[in-house]
Amino acid sequence: MLNRILKFLIVPILLVGMGIGVVIYVVENPTDSMVARMLTYDFIISSMEKHLLMVFVSMLGAIAVGVPVGIMLSRPSFYYVGKVIENVVNVGQTVPSLAILALFFTFLGLGFNTAVFALWLYSILPILRNTFAGIMSVQPEVVESAKGMGMSPWRVLSKIELPIAYPIIIAGIRTAIVINVGTATLATFIGAGGLGDMIVTGISVRREMVTFTGAALSALLAILLDYIIGRIEKNLVRWS
């Protein structure tokens, strides 16, 4: 048991360690005074906090909506609506993330809330699509034998369909979170802050070190979250 937990923790500790290493290095060895003024511990930590907050709020919202709607669309009475929505979602996914942000800022104005809203909307898509596809992938005879043995529709969903669809649903959440962390760096364009601040200002004042810090931290964050969700999935799915 302890062994398993240790194994699980090695990669996250390594990633977090790398992140802290990068931060300490750039703050302690700024290339010039301008970099020194920008890259303070306070600034980096608050950017990280904002970034995480955007990602978590929008992801929680996306899961809270995407999964139930996906389930609903998979019910036989909604089947055709589900197919239509699946296509809409696929098209929606091809719209560039920057365009989505730009679109909403014209309606909702600048700021953190607009960014969270856009990220939420953008993350719903893969989650909803995978939930729907996952439940549809359950073999019809499995559902039928469950019904035939006297399980109520609710029990069939919670004991049979969802557990079987679970890996695909988690895969959707994984895709969404990676996209989300990346897209959240664009939130700086509508004044929502986050790690994108460092990337963009770094570019505009031509200080690679600043850009590098923002980029490295968001990349490490994406890898970390992806890894954690992947492990959770592996630990819960023993049967396939």
Partner: protein
Amino acid sequence: MIRLENLTKQFPGMDRLAVNKLNLEVGKGEVCVLVGPSGCGKTTTMKMINRLCEPTDGKIYVDGQDTSKMNPIKLRLDIGYVIQQIGLFPHMTINDNVATVPKEKKWPKEKIKKRTAELLELVGLDPREHGGRYPSGLSGGQQQRVGIARALAADPPIMLMDEPFAAVDRITRSRLQNEFLRLQRELNKTIIFVTHDIDEAIKMGDRIAVLREGKLIQYDEPGKILSEPAGDFVANLVGRNRSIKRLHLIRAHEILEEEHWGVPLDTPREEIKERIEESVISTVMVIDEKGYLKGIIGRRAIEEKEGEKAEDLMEEVPDNVTDDATLNDALSVMLEIGEGYVPVVDADGLFRGTLTLNTLLDQVRSDKSAK
């Protein structure tokens, strides 16, 4: 126990009826076999009984109660259902699969555990070896057994079995069929059993319902179906070699002869030689003092082998059948081992006698002349 009245089903977009004014009555403890070509409405009929599919017209009574007025969930909890495509839950262990209905019925944990192990043993699986596995780790035939155990779990009075032995080879199938019949003698359930194999129908059914395009063509005992098929359709289904099919209806213990060419382990060489000369099959069976079959001695063995006692001369028994096997099973085994006989043992493995090809032929002949 189960009565179908004018049962009719039309699927949307299908021009003919899937089930057409079906009337059928199955008594308590009876095995009713639905047989007919693919698409004749067997599965649809079953699904209407447990209400997975609502009839377009007609009524179904279970124990005198109109099922359309019953709660479908309650109804299904008391009807064991073995689905045609097996349909095990891939994310649950074999134990959990089997425990499905007891769990739905909220049995206490200990009772469920005991029952699960008992059922796996009943269908010939080892609870310790297979119980913890997932369905993907089992062969098709083993999965099918789990499907049957799962349907039996809460001891339902009624079983609907849709081609339960379709996924296994011929030999295993005949073994499963015999096990099933033995079980049924103990459990005495009311069973509707679907197959499209007429041989299986004749062997398993107390009564056989022949269906064609949703219509009931004939509903009779197997012997009657063989001797008086109603029309060309049933006659074709039964096929031309009806006398051989009749071998399905006779069990080994019914025609076993007294003379079984059995000798004790310490029989001297000379006596064995004599016995072999007398024997129709030129072979004697060696039996130990408890009555178990230990080996066989044929003409070749006694000529080639040294030794003075039966014990030293005997060779391994190629195969045997149990005394509740049908004559058809016995015939398959004879063909399999390439001999004109097969030893018969009872459920405990004690030697009962020997069936020979000649006895089988006599049966077929007497059947022919009787007509």
